[in-house]
Chain length 180, copies 2
DNA sequence: AGCAGGTGTTTTACCTGTGAATGATATCGT
DNA sequence: ACGATATCATTCACAGGTAAAACACCTGCT
């Protein structure tokens, strides 16, 4: 019920670019089930739009989003992390983390300390400057995101967060399970 | 109501990685409103996971997702498009489109035709091979996406599609409006 | 002890996207 | 008709990511 209301409430037919694309496909291939596009296409497009908007506050601090993710991982866990842990935590490749760490240490935002037992690994922590930078940006960042998302009423936001969480949790669970 | 159910139904606390991250942030900064993360973080993460999964069928055809998007735009509109139109249609930069077109024409999937009136622009269309490739991949692609999304029940999928459409429509409407 | 193999990180070569010039043409105003 | 300006596409230099190889080190077996 809720779904049907939400789908037909605001405009006669979906007013976003994805629904226009779906209609085009259906005109060309009326036999195909285009249902998945309405979710996947929109998720991709939302991600692109939100990131673009989102980047604005970060860029003023001279940080890219991946860089901020890395600093944020160090800040929110509260303890030192190895490059491998950082890669897992930020869902990026080891090579990418290496490059970012190099830049961030040069900028004095991050410090590295060698492990005494296992000399392959390093432990990374925020410098005071790094911590201050994250703590300074985060409130702005969240305020900006709140403003962007306010196009949706609070109830809609709650429902959306819940559904995304459910989808994400199950996707993460069944990650490598699907093989086609 | 629906939101609250969905949020608390499957597990005691959110079982996805984003909710774990949010809990970490709240432990460090209990005063901050982390609400936006639960949407934006999840959208980003879902996009990453879905794309990774999604790419599998495409890669077998030797196409990247941006390349497929370009071919798809030509297929679904049904008529020729200029490079500029393709850039707008696929939300990418003109330079990126130029590069992709170069490769796709070399592979014989796309043909270009000069405009007689305005000699700056070219018109691009799919070759027969290009059209066949798109028509061959699309059903596989959709079937795969359907399988991936089936972790969510049909009602949940409908609600999610509706909410994303609403968010996306309004974001696209108020694109450059927000200035912070 | 000494070597085989595993693990954590970095390096390398390469590919793709981007923003800022550039070049080529069209359009507008006078 | 002619120059100024706008528009469309491409090229350029570069930043950033990736996979695979290389490197450094640990660990377990004999």
């Amino acid at each position: 019920m809720t779904a049907t209301n939400r789908e037909t409430d605001p405009r006669p037919q979906g007013g976003d670019t994805v629904s226009a694309v779906v209609r085009q496909w259906q005109a060309v291939h009326p036999d195909l089930d285009t249902g998945p596009m309405e979710i996947i296409g929109r998720v991709n497009r939302c991600a692109a739009l939100l990131q673009q908007a989102e980047d604005a506050p970060l860029r003023r601090a001279g940080l890219s989003r991946p860089e901020f993710d890395l600093l944020g991982a160090l800040r929110r866990t509260g303890h030192e992390l190895t490059p491998g842990e950082l890669a897992r935590e930020t869902f990026s490749s080891g090579a990418a983390v290496t490059k970012r760490l190099k830049q961030l240490t040069e900028r004095g935002l991050v410090e590295r300390r060698g492990d005494t037992r296992d000399r392959r690994v390093a432990h990374l922590r925020l410098t005071d400057a790094g911590r201050d930078l994250v703590d300074g940006i985060l409130p702005e960042q969240l305020a900006y995101e709140t403003a962007v998302l306010s196009v949706l009423d609070p109830q809609g936001q709650g429902e959306l967060a819940g559904l995304l969480g459910e989808l994400l949790g199950r996707l993460e669970g069944s990650l490598g399970a699907l093989r086609v």
